[in-house]
């Protein structure tokens, strides 16, 4: 099966890299799914969960990450997801995110609420 190489990098570290058959991310004009052989693409990401359906060496499975702003670029069967902040779903501390959500709601901090919400959605897999 055709596969594409994915690099998910945050500003200060590489978060995930491996082979995948499908990557779904949220750009500013809507969700976009990228499969192997997609047309070269460069887009602006919204805060939201990114779903990577892995194949090959990394095994069949799904990797979900919370991405806060950034870019998606695809060329030569290589997909790069650039984000200032990116976290894999299993790195996210659910209780902490819930607390952050509560706090953000009580303080009416829209940006913080959104961040916490994206984290929680990445963990629970509700898109």
């Amino acid at each position: 099966m055709a596969e594409l190489h994915v690099e998910l990098v945050a500003a200060d570290r590489q978060v995930w890299s491996g082979e995948a058959s499908l990557v779904v991310a949220r750009t500013s004009s809507g969700d976009i799914g990228v499969m192997p052989g997609h047309q070269p693409l460069l887009g602006v990401l919204e805060s939201g969960p990114v779903t990577i359906r892995t194949t090959g060496e990394s095994g069949d499975g799904t990797v979900v990450a919370a991405v806060h702003g950034g870019f998606i670029s695809f060329a030569d069967n290589k997909l790069s997801l650039l984000a200032e902040i990116a976290e894999l779903s299993d790195e996210i501390d659910v209780q902490r995110a819930e607390r952050a959500l509560e706090r953000a709601k009580s303080e009416a901090d829209a940006a913080a609420e959104r961040r916490a919400d994206v984290r929680l959605r990445a963990v629970t897999g509700v898109h």
Binding site: E7, V9, A10, A11, D12, R13, Q14, T27, S28, S29, I32, Q39, P40, L41, L42, G43, V44, G70, F71, I72, S73, A75, D76, S80, L82, E84
Partner: protein
């Protein structure tokens, strides 16, 4: 103990104490270089991917963006100078400051006004002492900069670039920092971040120059992508410069402290030679006094007989 000997002993003690301090600083700096280098390496994937993306948009579309096009009559340039917060790092800060001075001279020679932005206490105090104008300065994080620090530094710079020149904006953005070449070599460099000069970037990375860039599909549009990309690009370049400067600072400090330790060792050696000499002279004198006293006594008893 003779007075001379006591003086030498005291000096040896004080130099030994200094040596212990410089040795400790050397070891701390050495351990931090590795950490700083690791941070530089960790930030590289993001920076290189971002550079690739920016190159792709800038070459792959005919968009005229204020951040990529050269002004016909550039009137003002911003210079960001990165120095250290603390001293005892040899010529690290003064070399960076010297490089910034040269760049400033050159820009002024080209008829541009120069706005200076400074990171690091050393640079700030250098400019404050000479009563030169600094637009904005940041201190307190040069040891281990984070991405949030880079964002804080980049924000006013990006704002200045986006402003009209007539209203106090700038046409060019230069950055002066110390490049970490190796553990032994760190060189101050000046780079022009904006407007983007694609030739310079190709020179940085030979493989990227030979690579043919595909025609990209932009989502939502080339202008919007560029709008979003360029601030991030500036931030990541500044972040990279801060990290490299931090690594250079630690390397420079390690080298300075190593030569201080070596000098202290040398000093202790020559001082203990002198102390030995003084002790030996003292002993010789005592012996000759005893011998002299004894023979005088013997002479006296022989005379009385």
């Amino acid at each position: 103990m003779g007075a001379q000997l006591r003086v030498y002993k005291r000096r040896i003690r004080s130099v030994t104490a200094t040596k212990k301090i410089t040795k400790a600083m050397e070891m701390i700096a050495a351990s931090r270089i590795v950490k700083a280098q690791r941070q530089v390496a960790a930030s590289t994937p993001y920076a290189s991917e971002l550079t690739r993306a920016v190159t792709a948009v800038a070459t792959g579309s005919n968009t005229q963006h204020p951040l990529t096009t050269e002004a016909e009559q550039p009137a003002r340039a911003a210079v960001l100078l990165i120095t250290s917060d603390r001293g005892l790092a040899g010529g690290y800060s003064s070399n960076a400051i010297k490089a910034a001075e040269q760049l400033t001279e050159r820009l002024k020679g080209e008829g541009k006004e120069v706005d200076t932005y400074i990171v690091g206490r050393k640079g700030v105090s250098y400019y404050a002492f000479r009563e030169r104008k600094v637009v904005e300065s940041w201190t307190g994080f040069t040891d281990s900069p984070t991405y949030a620090d880079a964002k804080a530094v980049a924000a006013p710079l990006i704002e200045a670039v986006q402003q009209d020149t007539a209203e106090g904006g700038v046409d060019e953005l230069h950055i002066v920092f110390t490049e970490f070449v190796s553990m032994m070599t760190q060189t101050p460099v000046d780079n022009r971040l904006l407007p983007l000069s694609l030739d310079a970037k190709d020179a940085d990375d030979e493989s990227a120059a030979n690579e043919l860039l595909p025609l990209f599909d932009f989502e939502p549009s080339a202008e919007d992508v560029l709008d979003a990309l360029l601030p991030r690009y500036v931030e990541s370049r500044i972040y990279n410069a801060l990290l490299q400067s931090a690594a250079s600072e630690h390397a420079a400090r390690r080298r300075a402290m190593k030569s201080a330790t070596d000098n202290a060792e040398e000093l202790i050696k020559s001082l203990s030679r002198l102390a030995n000499q003084a002790r030996q002279a003292e002993i010789t004198q005592e012996i000759s006094e005893i011998v002299g006293g004894a023979s005088a006594l013997a002479d006296a008893t022989a005379g009385s007989d």
